[in-house]
């Protein structure tokens, strides 16, 4: 075998490995979705998604997981909005007053590191704070803790969106005599569709996160009513139903997982769409 053939073979070999890896990943993803769908669809019913649990639900009694669905939505919505109140000014700040200075990169580093902190650590921190302030597990505590989890995700994603804004926009706006704050307004309008994507991404992450709300939001069979009461969440509903020894309750856990997966799919699909459909004032 001459050298040229050997090089060509080497190329083909590594391309093969790479394609196999990628195909394997897609296959695994497919298997996950397929297994969850096939096992979940059996126990899925209208009652499941429209009723809160009745008494004896975890022994196989009637009712559904509406408490967990609404609880998760409340937790994720609250956390996303709260995180947005911090993340959006933070990201805009980096691009108007601080653009690409060392401080901005320092903030980016901190956010990236915060993104890497496991949500169980946020959960433990939230719990420590609750004990310190004499609070009990509640929707409010859950929202606060979950907001910490999604804050870096939201801030960094929005930051990346802002980074893609045209470089000339800044010069063009500032040279009209606008203050930086007014430039910020222009920039925000440019980045609005991207913000939507970032929000949806954070929202999706918030729905799926369990470890942070485990201690802080508690769990209840009642529908969410007040900020100071405990609240159920979908991941924990799945986990608790799975922990029972009854097959029919476990089957409902599969169905709940399907509900959760569909929710996540819808949210990430919406995120994709909003990323593609840009606003009418956006310069491409």
């Amino acid at each position: 075998m001459n050298r040229k053939q050997r090089r060509r073979l080497q190329e083909a070999f590594f391309v093969g490995i790479m394609r196999t890896s990628l195909a394997g990943a897609c296959l695994v993803l497919g298997t996950i979705l397929a297994v969850i769908t096939v096992r979940g669809v059996g126990a899925l019913s209208w009652e499941m998604v429209s009723q809160p649990p009745e008494s004896g639900f975890y022994l196989g009694g009637g009712g559904g997981i509406l408490n967990a669905i609404l609880g998760s939505l409340a937790l994720a919505t609250g956390a996303t909005l709260l995180a947005m109140a911090l993340a959006v000014p933070l990201a805009l700040f980096m691009h108007t007053y601080l653009r690409s200075s060392r401080i901005a990169n320092g903030i980016r580093l901190v956010l990236d590191v915060m993104w890497g902190i496991p949500s169980i650590v946020y959960g433990a921190f939230g719990f420590a704070l609750m004990v310190f302030m004499g609070l009990r597990a509640s929707l409010l505590a859950g929202v606060l803790t979950l907001a910490l989890v999604v804050l870096p995700i939201l801030a960094r994603t929005f930051d990346e969106v802002l980074m893609m804004s045209p470089k000339d926009l800044r010069e063009a706006t500032l040279s009209l005599g606008a203050t930086r704050l007014e430039y910020l307004g222009v920039l925000l309008r440019q980045a609005l569709p991207g913000l939507m994507t970032a929000l949806l991404l954070a929202f999706g992450r918030g729905i799926g996160d369990a470890a942070s709300v485990l201690f802080t939001a508690g769990y209840t069979d009642a529908l969410p009513q007040s900020l100071t009461r405990p609240v159920a969440s979908l991941p924990l509903a799945i986990f608790y139903q799975l922990s029972t020894p009854f097959p029919e309750v476990q089957a409902r856990a599969y169905a709940s997982a399907l509900v959760l997966t569909i929710l996540i799919l819808v949210v990430s699909l919406l995120a994709q769409l909003s990323a593609r459909r840009l606003g009418k004032h956006v310069i491409r």
Partner: protein, 331 residues
């Protein structure tokens, strides 16, 4: 005059007909400064959060640290909360072992996929594949855990386990199927590997794509194949970045809670075989929060576990991020 300008403050154009002697737009400038101050406060608060978290966990774990030395906690393998014995060794060993399995499973395919996305695919294919990877990141860990129970555990128990036991089991006790349940290091590690796969792919791709285009052109114009070009790109610029990607994956896997907790078997022992059930640090915290107020120092021990977790993750993350940032900023 002041009030008038403030009332129409929403109009961004300065009023050129403002009264003489008064600089137009003073209100705008003041607003600008206020906004700036507000944002400085927010940024500082966010950055201080990490310190706050570490501080709070440290304070809560102090009661335990006063009674037992750190070295003792980390190396003792006796975990009997009711006797006040809090040895973290089994949990640390379990976390490291399960993460190691995950990395063995995930690293090579993830790096190859990252290389493929960065060096071999055109932009259109990339935009089609990206949502799939994003979806893999987005699937909640409880769903991964459930999939592990329904799919991976039976697979390991009935097929992979007996096969490995039959072939490699004679060679080393590491591969002996000691545990017939299927719940253990291998099942948890496999699922965990899949969970961190997209992260390693994304960082690898990001780092490689920051290598300037001209370098690839230069190498290709010497008649190099794509793979030779890739090697050149990776060997000289991307190595540190890929290492950082692996470290990031490791620290993500190290802190993963629910999926591991559902699959690892949760028995307090230092695992000796790939099939042994074990216990991870995050699972320790998550599983015991219910009873942690009932025993002295129990809560403190769990907070110390969280602090330990935070320390490991912070260390790895900061190091890896610094490498990635330096590599991607230079271009």
């Amino acid at each position: 005059m002041e009030a008038e300008i403030r009332r129409d403050g929403a109009v961004l154009t300065p009023r050129y007909d403002a009264a003489p002697g008064r600089r137009p737009g003073t209100a705008r400038v003041i607003k600008d400064h206020l906004a700036r101050t507000g944002m400085v406060v927010i940024s500082a608060a966010t950055c201080l959060l990490v310190v706050l978290i570490a501080g709070a966990l440290l304070i809560r774990s102090l009661p335990l640290l006063r009674t037992q030395s750190l070295g003792e906690l980390l190396t003792s393998s006796t975990w009997q909360p009711s006797h006040g014995a809090f040895g973290f060794a089994p949990f640390i060993a379990g976390s490291i072992a399960v993460t190691a399995v995950a990395m063995i499973v995930a690293v090579a395919p993830a790096i190859f996929t990252g290389i493929y996305l960065s060096e071999y695919t055109v932009a259109r294919t990339r935009t089609r594949l990206k949502p799939l990877l994003d979806l893999m990141v987005g699937i909640p860990s409880v769903v991964y855990g459930l999939w592990g129970i329904l799919f991976v555990v039976p697979l390991v128990r009935d097929h992979v386990g007996p096969w490995i036991d039959g072939t490699l089991g004679q060679v080393s006790p590491l591969f002996r199927q000691t545990n017939p349940s299927g719940y253990g290091l291998l099942s948890a590690g496999l699922v965990l590997g899949i969970m961190v796969f997209p992260l390693i792919v994304a960082v690898t791709e990001e780092v490689l794509r920051s290598v300037p285009h001209e370098m690839r052109e230069a190498v290709l114009c010497l008649g190099a194949t794509r793979w030779e070009t890739t090697l050149c790109v990776v060997r000289r610029r991307g190595m540190a970045g890929i290492l950082a990607a692996v470290v990031l994956g490791f620290s993500r896997a190290f802190g993963e809670t629910l999926a591991v907790m559902m699959l690892i078997g949760n028995s307090v022992q230092v695992p000796r075989s790939l099939f042994d059930s074990a216990y991870s640090l995050p699972a320790l915290i998550a599983n015991n929060y219910g009873e942690m107020m009932s025993l002295p120092n129990y809560e403190s021990a769990l907070m110390a576990a969280a602090l330990l977790l935070l320390a490991v993750v912070l260390l790895f993350n900061v190091a890896a991020r610094l490498v990635v940032n330096r590599l991607t900023a230079r271009s």
